[in-house]
Amino acid sequence: MIQVDERLLERIAKDKDFNAQACFNCGTCSALCPMGLGLLPRELFRYVLLGARDRLRELSDVIFSCLLCRLCEANCPRGVRITHNIRTLRSYLVKDEYRIL
């Protein structure tokens, strides 16, 4: 079960450029991903929107596997800034979760 984590929601809300809300689940990103990543942008962002902190921790390998090639972003019909969002998540994981920096 996904438990909504309010702190994560607040953290993401601070990033004005994180714009996954616009996603309407068309799946174009998933179809185009050259890595065939196990986790697809639309699913990942959905977890973020819901504040599913546990899921993000579990999926950090995938988040760091993205090539940032922007093939998905260039073709997103809703203008979701996918690579920016991925960078935000990496920054969140590094700073808030693993406290590496």
């Binding site: 996904i2 909504v4 309010e6 699913e43 819901l50």
Partner: protein, 569 residues
Amino acid sequence: MEAKIGVFICYCGGNISDYVDCERVREAVSKEPGVVVAKTFMFTCSDAAQEEMIADIRKEGLNAIVIASCSPKLHLQTFRNMARRAGLNPYTYVQVNIREQCSWAHTHHKEAATRKAIRLVRAGIAKARLSIPLEPIKVKTTPAVLVVGAGVAGMRAALALADMGLEVHVVEREKAAGGWVKKWARVFPSGRPGEELVNTLLKGFEERENIYLYLETEVVEKRGSVGQFQVRLKGPQGEQEVEVGAIVVATGFSPYVPKEGEFAYGASGVLTLQELHALLKRGIEGRFVYAGREVRNVAFIYCVGSREKEGHTYCSRYCCTAAVYLGLLLAERYPEVKQFHFYRDMRTYGKYEIFYHNCLEKGAIFLRFEPPDVPKVEVAGERFFIRVKDRLTGGEEVEVPADLVVLVTGMVLSPNENLVNVLKLPVGKDAFFNEVHPKLRPVETVIDGLFIAGACQGPKNIAESVTSGLAAAAKIGALLLQKELRLEPLVAHVLKDRCTGCGECVAACPYEALSLKTEDGKQIAYLNPALCKGEGACVPVCPEEAIEIWGYGHEQIRSMIQGLCKEDL
């Protein structure tokens, strides 16, 4: 008078003649008694054919005509007008449908189609032979209207009617006009408080001298018929009677009230859409606080009391947009409050899709559920936990903490059994009032002169309610500004010398057009022709054959059966 009948048979450019041998039909019916002229045409509805028929009517001095072509739905008026132009009474013209009933229905069997056509045309001739010239029933109209319900639909209709020069009586059972809209914090799409809309309408009332508003008043009795109703009103000052030509019912809706425990309704912090409106209308300064505790998360649960498997099976239309719009208002006043919307299908249709979009952009989170997996609300001290299988996360179960739960409640009919009985309002299966035709006659009822408008007909938003109010006003204007109504004369009439006053027909009539009355010391049935629809329920129940429909007399029907049965094909 000797019958002189013209029979005109249509090819319909092949639609009929490809399957029905029209020439054989003409041949077979031309020797029927009374037939003077029998012709075929490529298109009877064409101008040239009509001119030729008019010439025949005049030259041969015809006193009845039969046109065998398509459905009377299509060209009844066309040929009635043609008859009128030829100087023939339009009610001595008989339409026979050999297209839908013969050529189109029996494409696989041309011989049978032709034989059926012959029989039908013979029946038509038999009917025409006994036809009687009729005149429309004329009813003087009272230039006044009763509007029941002073919500936005009724008030807007009243203003429009008053501007047509009609006297308008507006009856409202509550202490103030404005209905539910008055209670709403902010209404879409204008963003104004509902009260402002109502005040604009009320100002219009004050500026017009021909609108009378009766508050805390109900309708207790209705007599008469279209053009001339007498209505008795009961208010704080006692009873009074008004004379009106038409009635608009705009009694609106009631918000659905959840059952105790439905999504934890009854617990402090679980509100309906109406209760949230009231809360936001009162306004809260500073932070969003409810019942002494700060609200950080708000959960909206959609489709409460709508689209149920049994009961309220319909979609209430306005609630998705209303909830999203209130979400925007919340986001504007309390940007730090997080919103979770649990919806089934987002129906912010038409121009209002933008509000859903805006709400998403404001950061509201939408979770989609599908019955039977509806959200479960758990009360945990001062907080709530809502658990749902979210379709947008691949059906995974999500648990959302919330401080306030808003049940997005739908519309049900505002109960008013008394009014339904007094006005004989037709009620549909969803308990809302029924129109004659949802697309083509959306504000008329089966009772002439009785109209419905607004949410009493089914869930509507404000714009739709006002539109239907104006539609009713336009229909009434067209009706009452004529000063004299001309009604179809194909209604029942009582044969006084045969009637024994048994009352069977009175009980059979669904329109209350029949009653018993004493005439020359004898009790007989009396018919109000303005109420009669010519439906004919009274005819077969009469043991004395003492009631019949003009244009469908007993002799005519018998003679039609003879015509149908004749075996000379």
